[in-house]
């Protein structure tokens, strides 16, 4: 009675291990297949739909007290854009910087840093969550994006707000490699969505995105575009980069980064 039982057990263990190995190499193969990536990517649409349903009342992202501030706010991604244009702006303390707002607008804008700072400001202590897993809490001061958009008078067909940045993370052949990001109007008109020019009470430094960066507080770090040079209002994103709405989105990350 004993020997066959042991071998049967052994068979099952070997079978389970074999099945496990097959499953793993199978999962790797599935991970490489674009059609399967699209299939599991449907989970992202479900996540966005569910969160947007629950965010319908436009609640605020949690805000913190000064005592909660990170002692050092980690700077990540680009920390010093190298383009001659940015370098010359930086050399002047951004005196010649202009934020361009164009695209599907009734009134294209070109705003200096002084003009942006003269607008109504909002200051908020919020948490920055990198997609990698770390978090930092900082105090941001800037102009509400809703105010800037109102000045530009968006056309009725506008669906997306696209941020063109000065930093270059490198692109493939025929690509600019310039950072860009996009959000939809649901987040663009949220009261905490601001174009920040100060961090922790100091003018925004270069490593954190000087002179102007986006804060869209209910999404992850890669949405918080730094070195914003131009805001384009559009009704589609497929003509930009590889068509996914952002530098990291073009490299596989989800466009909706609320999770």
């Amino acid at each position: 009675m004993m020997p066959p039982r042991v071998s049967r057990r052994g068979l099952i263990a070997t079978g389970a291990a074999g099945l496990g190995g097959l499953l793993l190499s199978g999962c790797d193969r599935l991970s490489r297949a674009p059609s399967f990536q699209n299939f599991i990517g449907r989970g992202e649409g479900l996540t966005m739909g569910a969160q947007r349903l629950l965010l319908a009342g436009q609640p605020l992202a949690p805000e913190f007290k000064p005592a909660d501030l990170s002692p050092v706010f980690r700077a990540n991604g680009s920390t010093l854009p190298t383009s001659p244009l940015y370098q010359s702006l930086m050399a002047d303390g951004f005196a010649d910087y202009r934020l361009v707002v164009d695209g599907l607008v009734g009134q294209p804008l070109s705003l200096s840093l002084a003009q942006l700072k003269a607008m109504p400001t909002r200051t908020q202590i919020t948490r920055h969550d990198c997609v990698e897993g770390w978090s930092a809490i900082g105090q941001w001061t800037g102009a509400p994006l809703a105010r800037i958009l109102a000045l530009a008078r968006p056309l009725a067909s506008v669906r997306y707000v696209i941020f063109h940045c000065a930093d270059n993370l490198g692109g493939g052949p025929g690509e600019s490699g310039l950072y860009y990001e996009s959000i939809d109007l649901f987040d663009a008109f949220h009261p905490q969505t601001i174009l920040a020019w100060a961090l922790n009470g100091q003018p925004l430094d270069v490593s954190h995105g000087a002179p102007l960066r986006l804060r869209v507080e209910r999404q992850l770090g890669y949405k918080q575009a730094k070195y914003v040079m131009r805001i384009e209002l559009a009704n589609r994103m497929d003509g930009l980069g590889r068509g996914k709405g952002g530098f990291w989105e073009d490299r596989g990350y989800a466009w909706y980064a609320g999770i």
Partner: protein, 291 residues
Amino acid sequence: MATEATLATPLNVSPRSKGGREVVYRHSVVVRITHWINVLAISLLLMSGLNIFNAHPELYWGKFGANFDPSWLAVGSAHTAAGVPHGLLRLGKFTFDTTGFLGVSKGPHGALLSQGFPAWSTLPSWRDLATARRWHFFLAWIFVANGLVYLLMGLANGHLRRDLAPTRHELSPANIGRSILDHVRLKHPKGEAAKRYNVLQKLAYVIVALVLLPLMVLTGLAMSPGFDAIAPWVLDLFGGRQSARSVHFICANLIVLFVIVHVVEVFLAGVLNEVGSMITGKYALPRDRHA
């Protein structure tokens, strides 16, 4: 959430027998299906989770935490003077050499790689945060839907109350002590006693199905900046996002520990009968020598 369940009441005892042993209908079809979906979903959630962890293999307590802040757990690597890479795990003040597993391990082509968890344990096996996240959140939906079916059905048909909730008598120190002793001696219930779960088994299943697995979902949601705007109280429940991330990691480890013990017990109790019962529902009672 499915663990073994739906022990038959005597009414369900099949008159048929297997090798002279009484056969009972042990697991309902809901329990069997949700159990195996869970096996697949949790395995892949764990592996994609390890790939995500590898993007920043450091854990903190509190509302924030990044490279300059003190962490309670960190996986990393260092080189000896001779240039040999070493994998290191730091827990608080203590550092352990974990070369081969954590910090430095062999990649798919046999070369040593500096990475948190080794390639064989992650999904995908190469470092790919975007793909790992896509897997993780896709599987999370399946895991949550599956868990809801299990819990709602278990509440509706009385499975949770009848088969998993320990009775007051079972929770007596004497009974728990006896059960611990039985487990240490690898003695498994026979005959009539095998129709019900023992108290340690019940406690293990209740803790996993009603505490650890729901905590995985809750701590996972607490890490979502979108969800934090929807339900900031979840964040406060864990003491901040980085604490939630730490609890997520600790609970995942406890679930792995449970699975190891669970599988060892399945083998000790008779793998064919146990695994078979989770497939067909039918369980042959181990013979009671004293009967």
